[in-house]
């Protein structure tokens, strides 16, 4: 009888509550963070330096092509309009210096005039990032493998052109309905562009890009917009939600 009483006490409400609360705390506060790993961008790219420092517009790098498609990340061809290092000349100088053209660390350490003379940055930290871009990518003819915070899979067709006219100020009327879809803070100070709706807020002011948070299971970005979010906004805006709208 004594044993049965003890057993009844151990299997009572209290342990249940302990277990319940413990996993609730873990499940809300700890485990969600474990789903993601932080991955740094391949280069430190400062939007602030390019926008504030050089007075560049968003459209200089992120533009619509003639056919209406969106250029997305700038290619070397675009970057080279300012970072004017001739890859051929640079490779010749690297060969003359007896450096393996694939040994980017050695090239950066060599401070070659053909590269150093073309760097536009003034302070050491920015110059280092710029040099890294030039040596690792521009003169090697490789595009920078930027990590897309808003990565969408291949089976989703997203047209920037179709969403170009969305006005954040107008959408503010739906702020409550859209609270789960977008960061409500974007409605506080609607800017000239609507990029904040989906992209990192005020990225144009950013000096060091935040780490990309990759889902360890799916591989997607933490910021990847899920289908229900697209559907919510489409429904609120009276837009079609048929499969073929996004899945071509």
């Amino acid at each position: 009888m004594e044993e049965r009483k003890a057993s009844k006490r151990c299997g009572g409400v209290f342990p249940f509550i302990i277990g319940f609360l413990a996993t609730c705390i873990l499940g809300w506060a700890v485990i969600p963070g474990l789903f993601f790993e932080k991955v740094e961008q391949p280069l430190r790219f400062s939007h602030a330096i390019h926008v504030d420092g050089q007075g560049m517009d968003c459209e200089t790098c992120h533009y619509f092509r003639e056919d209406g498609s969106y250029a997305g990340f700038p290619t070397n061809e675009v970057c080279a309009e300012c970072h004017a290092v001739d890859p051929g000349e640079a490779m010749e100088a690297i060969a003359e210096a007896g450096i393996d053209p694939k040994d980017t660390a050695a090239i950066m350490a060599a401070n070659l005039d053909v590269i150093e003379g073309a760097l536009a940055s003034s302070d050491d930290e920015n110059k280092k990032a710029e040099r890294e871009y030039v040596v690792k990518y521009l003169i090697q003819g490789k595009e920078v493998p930027w990590l897309n915070y808003q990565y969408q899979p291949d089976n989703v067709y997203f047209s920037h052109k179709a969403h170009e006219g969305l006005d954040i100020a107008e959408l503010a009327a739906m702020k409550k309905d859209l609270s789960d879809v977008v960061d409500p803070a974007v409605f506080d100070e609607p800017g000239e562009h609507n990029c904040n709706l989906c992209h990192l807020k005020d990225i144009q002011k950013n000096d060091t890009p935040p780490a990309f948070q990759r889902n360890v299971l799916s591989g997607y970005s933490k910021m990847t917009m899920k289908m229900w979010k697209c559907e919510r906004c489409h429904a609120l805006k009276g837009q079609p939600n048929a499969c073929y709208t996004c899945h071509k």
């Binding site: 342990p15 277990g19 319940f20 996993t23 873990l26 499940g27 889902n215 299971l217 799916s218 591989g219």
Partner: protein, 639 residues
Amino acid sequence: MTVGATVGILFTPTVWKALDDVSIWTQNWPWIPRLKYGENKAVATVSKMCESGCAVKVRTVAGEAFGTMGNTENPISGGGVCPLCANGVQVKNSPNRIKSPMLKGEAVTWDKAKEIVAEKLAAAGSKVAVISGDQTGTINEVFSALLASKGSDAFYAMPCDMQSACKAWNGLMGGSGQVGYDMKGADVVLLAGADALESWGPTVANMKAFADNEGGKFIFAGPFQTKTASVTSKWVPVPAEGMAAFTLGICYYVLQAGKSVPAADFDQFKAMVMSGYTPAKVEAATGVKADAMAEVAKQLLTAKSPVVVPGGSVGAHAAAFALNLLLGGGMKVLPEFAKAVGSAMSRAEMMKNDILQGVNADLLFVYEANPAYVLADQVKAGFTVAFDCVNTETTAAADLVLPIPHSYERVDDLASPYGLPQATYTMGAPVCKASLDVMNAGDFVLGLADLGFESFQEVIDAKVSAIGADADSLVEGNAFVLDETPDVSGVTLAASVLGKAASPVKGTGAVAVAPYTLLNVGTANQATTPNAPCTISNNQLVGDKLVVMMNGTTAKKLGVSVGSKVKLSGGSGECQALVQLFEGVMDGVVAAPLGMGHTTGDEFSKGKGDNVYKILTVSSEAATGASTWAGSTVNVAKI
């Protein structure tokens, strides 16, 4: 506590998120192809997979080619593309590409390859020859200049209608420039053996001309009702070996109507035709009814701008040119574009040598041609260097194989594909980067001898400059058109030769063989392409079996019927095939598709059907000194 923990976790997003992520994870298999993102472009260039070459636009994304379409700005294309060139990207990405230089089956470096070829070139002296499968490229200037530097004139083109036309016009008749045909502007077009809407000449431009020529009447003459004949107004059954006689038979009516031409030998020509090619004699020699010839002649005579487009032997071409001169219609004479390489041969000189009479050299260069497939018995060489981008029977047999970039990876050009009514030059720049260890054949050859250029790009630049074209416009895909006409006053009608050449010569086999080419099946130099086999009909291939067509009368005579397995013996070989009945084939004729039966290649071409070139007989065309396959016959045995 466990129960509490289990219930508690269900009140958090953890389980649901994990399930969601896992469901997404199951879609991320590594073998699922990933899209490449970037700018979509349509880049103009040329494709050299078909014999005439196509002006195309290659669709790219982020600089990677993924599709081919026509080039509306270029008259060679007019927005269309042939079945071979349509699959250019698939061939570019094919596992059948040659990946590095190969010496007798072993990979070698380009430096080693160059060292070997330089050594062989020095030892060969003037016994150097070139076989080119490119009819229109300036690369031929580089190869012929190399031959000239060695004191050789052994430049050979693969057998083609352009060669027959050159031998007839520039050789027999003393003409200059190149013959072309205004099929768009003509009101009556007699296709005398030219399968113009399927495989002859610039097929895409021909089809555009056919489509645009709403009021024109097209007549096809040939041994069987080809796809071209199926859409023309009339099909006149004419055996291939009798085409020259048939054409002269029409000349008879035209001369009778009083037509003349200010040629030095006109009187001789007229006398020859009026006595030797009377309707009765032609009917006796060819089986073509006099009434049929009279009807065709009547239509040509009443037309404002008639044109006769020949196909086949040199004699057939000369007869057609004579008829065109008498009619004064849509036959055009195009000037030849200025050369880039001073010591290079002219096009007529390049077409002069007859590969069917055999090639024998100490050192043989083969450029994008497949003589080992087409002319296995005719080509002999001490050391063969084969330039190609894909494996073929010729590369398999060559001593040294040098991989060249695919058309979309190299600079190249198309100078006046044979058949166009105007001298037309189109340039092709690389659309994408070469993915294999390849080198442009021009660059390799220029490294062997001092021909005045460092690279093939320089040669093309010089060509563009020599002809006076705008390089920027060419890069955009536009054609440069030279609207001049060479002096034709000295042209003769080759009366003395034609009188003999036009007599039909036929083999002794049971039935005549009418070989034909379909571009989706392949050509002499290019096997069928990855997407094309599904378009090959049961009239050409059933399973892996070749299909030949004959009419019911012929089948009855041979004791075969639909589906019979037969062995065709002729030339120096034999073929196995299945029989299909088609009443659009002349009596005593078997129609057999060329381009199949490859022993080297990819899964789409290797072991499919049989090689009809094996059963063709090379015969010398009396008087012209040229060789021809026309008149080939075969014996047919049921197996």
